[in-house]
Symmetry: C2
Subunit: 405 residues, 2 copies
């Protein structure tokens, strides 16, 4: 193998930032990049899409931004729509969390997903595949051959299986096939690199093993990225916690405000995972935080602007920043808030619902219990509260309305 | 459900002798027998054949004798040649104990097997099927659906899996499919009853579960038979221990002599599992042994005659009994033994090989080390021993030759 040139070491260090690269570390990535360059063979980067959950948030973009970096270097993103997996669902019919989808549902979800990822990567240059095309063709013998490559003990090292097994929760045998199918995909699309969250360590490394078992000489490299916490800084960003989740479809003001709400401990990680800054700039953010060399609020303002600009353009980000600063200087109340004309006294929950500040009365009750609803600056204590006069209504941190008669 | 009539209770008690009947016990068998009779629907009795090991011994006949009893009552034996399973072998190619067979090998072994079982059951009235006909047609989705019916924890209750897992020995995922395939066979052939050794408890009960999961209202009954020990009374009868294994192709003299060599503790079990005696006669054997009411040797002579007669006819059994008694009265040397003409001094191992008393020199050495070779009544101490004079050569208990010049 030729000596690895500095150019590719630097490429690998930039693109591999924050990644755990398995099994060989950053030098193996540099080697792949150089080999690809010297032989005019773009690397094939695998991106698996789960078509049962098409809604994307910033957590999903962590991997997609890496793909974009590869794309900019001339490599090829191979998107796998998990049609086979989705159409299987839970074949026992017991699980509600894994409903079987029809081909039409898969296609519709894939279209939504495609539109959303287009906000990050150049979808005109993506190779789109569907694993139903090869998995549904596997015969009885093919399936057994695939399964013969992994032992039960190996499978049980997977975190979720180990946990469920030790807790006495059932694991149906067919579930072993989900990681096997994902791994087999790597063989079918001839992947050179597979990204995943750290919770995908088992599945992505299994892809390597299956490629090797099926005769591939240089199996895929695995690049694991840390999971991104939501704006509370504690739990992994997820649609299950909408108040801490920054969705790609959030308005500019919401996006900006949510980024501003992250704890200082997350600033560096968000810079690392959600911006394209060069490594030396990232290091400066790190050092500034370390040495208290600047106000964390300023670092967050810059971060919020970078992120918001990406999805709403410079103008959108500028306006969102202006609105945010107004809210703060204006005792927390934005300049431009909707008015609500009160015809007669109204229950607070009904009012919040009508303003679409909440999705359900249950959500409203929880918000009130948590002290998250204010009228004229006073916390609303009971869900039976009646709004009878004019005043400013606030729900959560960023939703306001002016009640008028 | 109609009241069960005495006639069918008696049938069930005879045919269910020595069996563990799951899940309902002997009354459930009686119920099935009565329902079948009243509705003129013969019961379908499953018999699975492993085409990788076509050689049969008395251990295999324990189940086959039961099948014959069902056959005599007008029920239907459905033989499943495990073509799918055999052609899979070990798909990883790592196991030498499970070689993949070609279709031709499967067919040839099935023919041998068929000829051997014809010694016990009426093969002209057997429905012959091959599970390759349905298993090879299972699609990707079918396989996952099948696998979804069992959990890992259930699978790990299977004795051999539990043992290997706890010992850290690998279990490949595809191995989970062997019991699943066997169980699925029960659904495909619509089995009413499946027999098995006690080591088949998991697999046979899984057949019930799979039938139920696939919509069968009255799933199969499971009848478990104890494993038959070889003539040493310790280890399960198996070709791996040829000296304790009574093969269906053994000569009448060998068969008779081997039965006579069983320990007294096995007499009752052999009567129960290897003869058609009525339950009251079996009880008499039990009582005679219990009360020392007769010489165990006489019980064994009767047993050896019954068993030998089954495979070699009455005349064959009579002659074998006569020969056995001659050996005993003649200080252990039979009347009619082959002569070997000694031309020059000969090494004992070469001589044993030429007489076909042993298959290899290794076997000869072990026999000599165990004191199993005698010349003129004296144990041969060394494999280098030279036979130089006339005399009686004995190898093991029943092989003799007269060395002459």
């Amino acid at each position: 193998m030729a000596e690895i040139r500095q150019e590719f070491i630097e490429q690998a260090e930039k693109i591999g930032r924050s990644c755990e690269i398995l099994p060989g570390g950053v030098m193996e990535l540099a080697q792949k990049l150089q080999y690809s360059h010297d032989n005019h063979k773009p690397l094939r980067i695998k991106l698996g899409m789960d078509p049962t959950r098409p809604d994307l948030h910033l957590g999903h973009t962590v991997v997609m931004r890496k793909l974009r970096e590869f794309q900019k270097l001339g490599h090829k993103i191979v998107l796998i729509v998990g049609g086979a997996t989705a159409m299987v669902g839970d074949p026992s019919g017991k699980s509600e969390t894994r409903p079987a989808l029809t081909k039409e549902q898969v296609d519709a979800n894939a279209a939504t997903y495609f539109e959303q990822i287009s906000k990050v990567i150049d979808v005109t240059d993506v190779e789109v595949t569907n694993n139903a095309d090869w998995l549904h063709k596997l015969s009885f013998m093919d399936m057994l051959k695939l399964a013969s490559n992994v032992t039960v003990a190996q499978m049980m090292t997977r975190d979720d299986f180990a946990k469920r097994y030790s807790e006495g929760k059932p694991i149906a045998i067919h579930e072993f096939f989900y990681p096997l199918m994902q791994a087999y995909d790597s063989y079918e699309i001839d992947a050179d690199i597979e990204f995943g969250g750290t919770d995908q360590r088992f599945n992505t490394l299994l892809g390597r093993d299956i490629q090797t078992a099926y005769g591939r000489k240089y199996p895929q490299l695995v690049m694991l990225l840390p999971l991104l916490e939501g704006t509370d800084g504690v739990v992994k960003m997820s649609k299950s916690y909408p108040e801490h989740c920054i969705s790609l479809t959030d308005s500019a003001n919401d996006m900006f405000g949510k980024v501003m709400s992250i704890p200082d401990t997350l600033i560096l990680k968000y810079y690392e995972l959600l911006t394209d800054l060069e490594n030396n700039e990232i290091k400066k953010v790190h050092d500034d935080l370390e040495n208290n060399a600047c106000n964390p609020r300023d670092l967050k303002l810059r971060l919020a602007h970078i992120i918001t600009e990406e999805y709403h353009g410079k103008e959108g980000a500028d306006k969102a920043q202006e609105a945010f600063i107004n809210v703060v200087s204006n005792k927390g109340i934005p300049d431009d808030i909707p008015e609500y004309k009160l015809v007669e006294s109204q229950n607070i929950l009904d009012l919040l619902l009508e303003l679409k500040f909440i999705q359900s009365k249950g959500e409203g009750k929880r918000l009130i219990q948590g002290g998250g609803v204010k009228f004229e600056g006073e916390k609303v204590a009971e869900p039976t509260f009646l709004v009878e006069n004019e005043g400013i209504l606030q729900a959560g941190k960023r939703k306001f309305a002016k009640v008028v008669r």
